[in-house]
């Protein structure tokens, strides 16, 4: 793995360069800013093109805090530029709707500016000025959250409605902002993995993996092949559990009590299997810089047997669920995400695949041992409803079980190291993995002695801005399915 090709351009031409890259078949995967101590900033647009990531980079010298908005030409950049405005105070000219997103601060307040050395003191949020009013006959807004009925992560949806039909949805995501990006800079690379595991708790392995791949690229080391297999096994177990959790939320919403109970039991058994394999129910501590922390704590052959038993029991219930009309009726035609919308935005993960778009990182830019294991991506039809997203997840659960068994099977009998020493050299890299929620990117910049900038770009952040697009003509009772079918982890949205 090597650093990406970098195209340098002026901030004034960034928008055109990104638009040109997209016309040539690229997809805007992220727009990331970094601050420097002298008051300057670097803007990096990350484009995903066939088989690789490319970076378009431009600098804003000290004192320059405005540039022509990328959003004006590429609407998918909207949330990125709002995030950059919140964290750095940079103003994209011509953005159109620069409301606070991840951290609402008063004008002129000190900004976190990750990348720069000096951190601000405790911030005070300015939430009273956030837009929330709607106009029109009989139209009103229902604020749903951040404390919601049930066990949910904190997020607020402003549901604009005339009574039953949801006309529009606004999403407020700042409540959980923890200052993760700055925190990364304060940690050594091998401790920073622990923080990566806590960015999105339901994608701990994926985050650790993406971060460690970046460190390994900067250190120019190759991970031992056995370690790569262990990484795949844990990443796929994580995918199974997280996809299953999405299905469980659907059954809860649909009142399928028995299915809900049984799937919860399967999920618990899977978590226990993960704990037996590594000592942690969410796979934390497995992925370390340069490899994995050690061999599985359970004999691979035994783990394969347990996995098989679990899969048979789980799939029997999932098959029954997918032939239960009272369940399917709730999902069919619900939360339509037209392929055109998904494509224009560059949707990722099961949300994209449910609309017939394939950009599975495991197949497009294989990492760990996916190439050796012969991974082939599966996509859904272009149906684009909650049911199709559910089908995609169920397909992937089956494929993941197979990958777990293959990875564990290939482990048996092999020998060699579990971990290579990885000391990151100076440079900037972007790495990607397919987290359960979709494409996860890490931009890591090191000056050779310390990490100066770490930016995780989660699929949750990227996809959540599409959520409002999936509410065309849907009503309140559909809300739970549309939300669950997006499978977003709120912790990963505002870092």
């Amino acid at each position: 793995m090597s650093a990406q090709p970098v195209l340098r351009t002026t901030a004034g031409e960034l928008a055109q360069s990104v638009a040109a890259g997209i016309r040539r078949g690229g997809r805007l995967a992220a727009l990331v800013a970094s601050a420097r101590d002298d008051g300057s900033h670097v803007l990096r647009a990350i484009l995903a093109t066939a088989g690789r990531l490319a970076v378009i980079e431009s600098e804003l010298p000290p004192g320059v805090e405005a540039y022509p908005a990328v959003t004006a030409l590429v609407p998918g950049a909207s949330w990125y530029e709002r995030e950059i405005h919140d964290l750095f105070g940079l103003a994209p000219q011509g953005h159109g709707r620069l409301d606070p997103l991840v951290l609402p601060l008063a004008d002129g307040a000190a900004r976190p500016r990750p990348g720069a050395r000096t951190a601000p003191g405790a911030v005070e949020l300015a939430v009273s000025g956030l837009p929330g009013h709607v106009m029109g006959e009989g139209v009103f807004t229902i604020p749903y959250g951040p404390v919601r009925s049930g066990v949910f992560e904190s997020v607020q949806y402003l549901v604009e409605t005339v009574g039953e039909e949801i006309l529009h949805l606004r999403t407020r995501v700042y409540h959980k902002h923890r200052g993760i990006e700055r925190r990364f800079q304060e940690l050594r690379a091998d401790d920073a993995v622990l923080l990566a595991e806590r960015v999105e708790g339901t994608a701990s392995v994926a985050h650790a993996l993406a971060f460690c791949q970046a460190v390994e690229a900067l250190a120019e080391v190759t991970v031992p092949s056995r370690a790569a297999l262990v990484r795949v096994a844990h990443a796929e177990l994580e995918r199974i559990v997280t996809h299953l959790d999405s299905v469980i939320r659907h059954t809860e919403g649909a009142g399928q009590a028995v299915a809900n109970a049984r799937l919860s039991v399967h999920k618990e058994r899977l978590l226990r299997l993960r704990a037996r394999l590594c000592g942690h129910r969410f796979g934390r501590g497995v992925v370390v810089t340069g490899g994995v922390s050690g061999p599985p704590l359970m004999a691979p052959s035994e783990a394969i047997g347990v996995t098989g038993t679990l899969e048979r029991a789980l799939c029997a219930d999932l098959d029954a669920l997918m032939s239960t009309p009272s369940f399917l009726d709730r999902l069919r035609g619900t939360g339509m995400l037209p392929v055109g919308v998904a494509e224009a935005h560059g949707a990722v993960g099961p949300v994209a695949r449910g609309s017939g778009i394939d950009n599975d990182v495991r197949a497009e830019r294989p990492y760990a041992a996916y190439r050796e294991l012969g991974f082939v991506a599966r996509i859904g039809s272009s149906q684009g409803d909650a049911l199709e997203r559910q089908r995609v997840r169920l397909d992937e659960i089956g494929a993941s079980f197979e990958l777990v068994r293959h990875a564990l099977g290939a482990l048996d009998g092999g020998d060699g190291q579990w971990r290579a020493e990885a000391v990151p050299g100076a440079g900037t890299v972007v790495t990607s993995v397919e987290a359960p929620q979709g494409e996860l990117l890490y931009l890591v910049e090191s000056d050779g002695t310390a990490l100066v900038r770490v930016k995780p770009r989660t699929a949750s952040f990227h996809n959540l801005s599409l959520l409002s697009e999936a509410f065309r003509g849907d009503i309140f009772t559909d809300f739970v399915f549309i939300e669950a079918s997006f499978g977003v982890s709120i912790a990963g949205v505002s870092l």
Binding site: A119, G121, R183, G201, E268, R272, H280
Partner: protein, 266 residues
């Protein structure tokens, strides 16, 4: 109809905890234990630096005691890997306490009395709740894993309702506030308002290392160093995230339903 029969397929899967020993805890890294609380002073250099969250405390040269603050520990195992002579994983999952100080282990001798006193006070306060406890969960900036473990409590294996405990949608019906996360700037007001909306008597549980101390994440410019600065906390459940058994232990402790003494039952 097929679902009715399917539902009977596995028989009873629910744990016997807390009335019976469950056994699952044995395979689980639930806590870190100090094997040698008073090692030779030459062995203690560099110990605090081992821990990324500062959970290893080495007292003054005279006392030279080594202790672990479970309220800061995220169970990463750095110390166990580097110094197996001093630290070990413990399959203990009954890690909840009613005093922040008691999370620092091994406990100091005078702490026992204090912990007992706090627990008696708490038990007196919650006496009316015991047979019907309603829980309001609130996320004050977690990483999302705590929510997954809390959600597991309502499943058939842990089945909270058999203990007379129920999740409720509104703080006005709630007796217990189960809080996850570091206490972020964006949730501070919501946390206080939720607490104030609850009727007395009420109990607050800090769920997880983040909620107890900020863990690896807080304090920062927007994350708190635990929720105790925002609302009064009665029970701390460390863990990153705490396992469902640890959560059950914390809930039972919070409402005075825990068998008084005895060995671990998980």
């Amino acid at each position: 109809m097929p679902w009715v029969l399917r539902g009977l397929r596995d028989g009873i899967v629910t744990t016997g905890y807390p009335r019976r020993v469950d056994g699952y805890g044995a395979g689980f890294r639930g806590a870190v234990r100090v094997l040698e609380p008073e090692p030779d002073p030459s062995l203690t250099s560099g110990l605090p630096e081992l821990c990324p969250t500062g959970a290893i405390l080495v007292e003054s040269a005279e006392a030279r005691a080594v202790r672990i603050d479970r309220g800061r520990c995220i169970l990463c195992g750095r110390c166990v890997g580097a110094r197996p002579d001093l630290f070990a994983f413990d399959p203990l999952v009954e890690v909840a306490t009613s005093s922040r100080r008691a999370l620092v282990v091994p406990e100091e001798p005078d702490e026992d009395d204090e912990v007992r006193r706090i627990r008696v006070q708490l038990a007196r306060r919650v006496r009316a709740l015991r047979r019907s406890v309603h829980i309001r969960h609130l996320d004050a900036g977690s990483d999302g894993a705590e929510e997954a473990e809390i959600a597991a409590l309502t499943g058939p294996i842990y089945d909270l309702e058999r203990l007379g405990m129920f999740f409720t949608a509104t703080p006005r019906h709630a007796d217990v506030l189960l809080v996850t996360g570091t206490g972020t700037a964006g949730m501070a007001d919501e946390l206080r308002r939720t607490f104030e909306a609850m009727p007395d008597p009420k109990v607050v549980i800090a769920c997880g290392t983040d909620a107890t101390s900020g863990g690896l994440v807080g304090p920062s410019y927007s994350a708190g160093g635990g929720i105790a600065g925002l609302v009064p906390v009665d029970v701390f459940v460390p863990g990153s995230p705490p396992s469902p058994f640890s959560l059950l232990h914390g809930l039972l402790l919070a409402v005075g339903l825990l068998p008084v003494a005895g060995r671990s039952r998980c």
